[in-house]
């Protein structure tokens, strides 16, 4: 099971609390994780990546195992620790404030 940490506003939209756990078929990549997340929670479509281009929304980042996957190809395999569920895959909103 893959653990995904999503921003608080998206947890509200998806009606979930805490981390999301997903079954993701191999190979586990950013794309396959997001596909599984959106299939399970279709209300999140368009909130993380564009409906048509599937490009990441500019104020969101993808982190895992202390690495930034935001600018990597979405088809790059994620670390084994994410695949095994030991470490979560993070979807992070950009910091904004005064």
């Amino acid at each position: 099971m893959i653990r995904v940490v999503i921003p608080a506003h998206l947890r509200t939209l998806a009606h979930v609390e805490g981390d999301v756990t997903l079954e993701v078929a191999s190979p586990v990549t950013v794309r396959s994780v997001l596909d599984a997340l959106e299939a399970r929670y279709p209300m999140l479509r368009g909130t993380i990546r564009d409906h048509v281009t599937l490009e990441r929304r500019p104020f969101l980042r993808f982190f895992a195992c202390e690495e930034d996957f935001s600018l990597e190809s979405p088809d790059v395999p994620l670390p084994e620790a994410v695949v095994s569920g030991k470490e979560p895959f993070f979807i992070i909103g950009a910091i904004a404030g005064g």
Binding site: P7, H9, T47, H51, G93
Partner: protein, 395 residues
């Protein structure tokens, strides 16, 4: 018992304010969608418990929310809990937040760019829904005015959205240029006497009208003059802030332009200025009394560089003559040290008698008058900055 239900969109959520017909004691509920920008909420004239809301975020994009019980509960109409994510054929179900510009060959003129601030061409990019306008006859039909400027329609209660492509495709689209707040289609007026006629307004492209249900459109900006344009009388490019009409007389339309308050008596074919004795004719809101088609309201703002009331005095101005002759309405409004703004979608009137008038400010106040504007009182004082105000008269 009849009641007034005021729908307030703010920078950090939505609020619903309710009162009986006297409109003296108010109940406040919310925030709904806390933390999100709520550009607009509006109820169906056919089914007052059917509400639509535009929930938007720079991080997460656009969401459309719907309530079928007057705002008690909400859901995303494309994806209610338990609904399958894919259709039987495996294709994704339509989602309520999917706004995709129509570039199909059928439109004849697939558009990909509009004019940018510096005069160059810029790709058309969907950003958010500024305004939702439910149909006058069908609660499942609702129009959405979006940024970058385009008109969309849903015929299934907000699940699926399709662009009304004739507007961007009518010919002037590549010349449209954003105002400081973006290239937003912010006003949609439906003609109650002629269901094929609709007016829309875009900052800073101007006003447009269709007479065939949205298939074809034409600019209706003759008579407008804008000194910030190389051609001050140009066919398009005017920064129209808001337009309003009275349902009994839909050929008469009032306009608060960037500068200038205008009116037309022939459905926009020709406009004339009616700013008259206003202390400044800059502003955003304009609205029409529910029972008196010649009574209109504006809130003058000092200038485009100073978005606050002149002299720090918050004044609604009322004309009972359809413009030119204006009186200041100040009773109950702050008359010193007031430096808030009133944004374009933040005024509304109810249909009680006497007519109720409402407006919200960037300082978080929502003011109400239950006597045609003669006196005012705040319903709430400390909301987040108010983006929109609508009111329903629920009988």
């Amino acid at each position: 018992m009849s009641k007034a239900r005021v729908l307030v969109g703010t920078k950090k959520g939505a609020f619903i304010l309710t009162a009986d017909g006297k409109r003296q004691k108010w109940e406040v509920s919310g925030p709904y969608f806390a933390g999100w920008e709520i550009y607009h909420l509006k109820g169906s004239p056919v089914d007052p418990n059917r509400l639509y809301a535009s929930q938007t975020s720079g991080w997460f994009g656009q969401i459309i929310q719907r309530s079928d019980d007057g705002g008690k509960t909400w859901f995303q109409p494309g994806t209610p809990p338990g609904e399958q994510a894919t259709a039987p054929g495996g294709m994704p179900q339509g989602e309520s937040n999917k706004f995709v510009y129509d570039s199909s060959p059928e439109t004849g003129k697939p558009l990909t760019t509009h004019k940018w601030y510096d005069g160059s061409q810029h790709p058309w990019e969907f950003k958010r829904v500024w305004h939702l306008e439910p149909s006058l006859t069908d609660p499942n039909m609702v129009y959405a005015g979006v940024e970058d400027a385009a008109l969309f329609v849903s015929r299934d209660g907000g699940k699926n959205w399709k662009e009304v492509a004739g507007l961007r495709g009518h010919g002037t689209g590549p010349q449209w240029q954003p105002g400081a707040g973006g290239l937003g289609l912010h006003t949609i007026l439906l003609d109650p006497k002629n269901h094929n006629r609709m007016y829309i307004a875009i900052s800073a492209a101007g006003a447009f009208r269709t007479d065939d249900g949205g298939k074809t459109w034409k600019p209706i900006n003759k008579g407008l003059r804008s000194p910030y344009l190389p051609d001050q009388d140009a066919e398009i490019g005017h920064c129209v802030h808001r337009i309003a009409l009275h349902p009994s007389r839909p050929d008469v339309v009032f306009m608060q332009k960037h500068w200038d308050v205008m009116r037309t008596d022939n459905a926009g074919d020709q406009w004339r200025e009616v700013s008259g004795n206003l202390p400044t004719d800059f502003g955003f809101v304009i609205d029409v009394h529910a029972h008196e088609p010649e009574t209109i309201y504006v809130v003058p703002i000092k200038s485009d560089g100073e978005h606050f009331p002149p002299e720090g005095k918050l004044r609604v101005y009322r004309s009972r003559t359809g413009g030119n002759e204006w009186e200041a309405l100040t009773k109950g409004l702050p008359q010193q040290h007031c430096y808030v703004d009133v944004l374009r979608d933040a005024m509304a009137v109810d249909s009680f008698d006497p007519c109720g008038v409402y407006f919200g400010t960037t300082g978080g106040q929502v003011y109400a008058s239950a006597d045609d504007g003669d006196s005012w009182a705040p319903i709430v004082r400390d909301l987040p900055a108010v983006l929109s105000v609508e009111v329903q008269t629920v009988r």
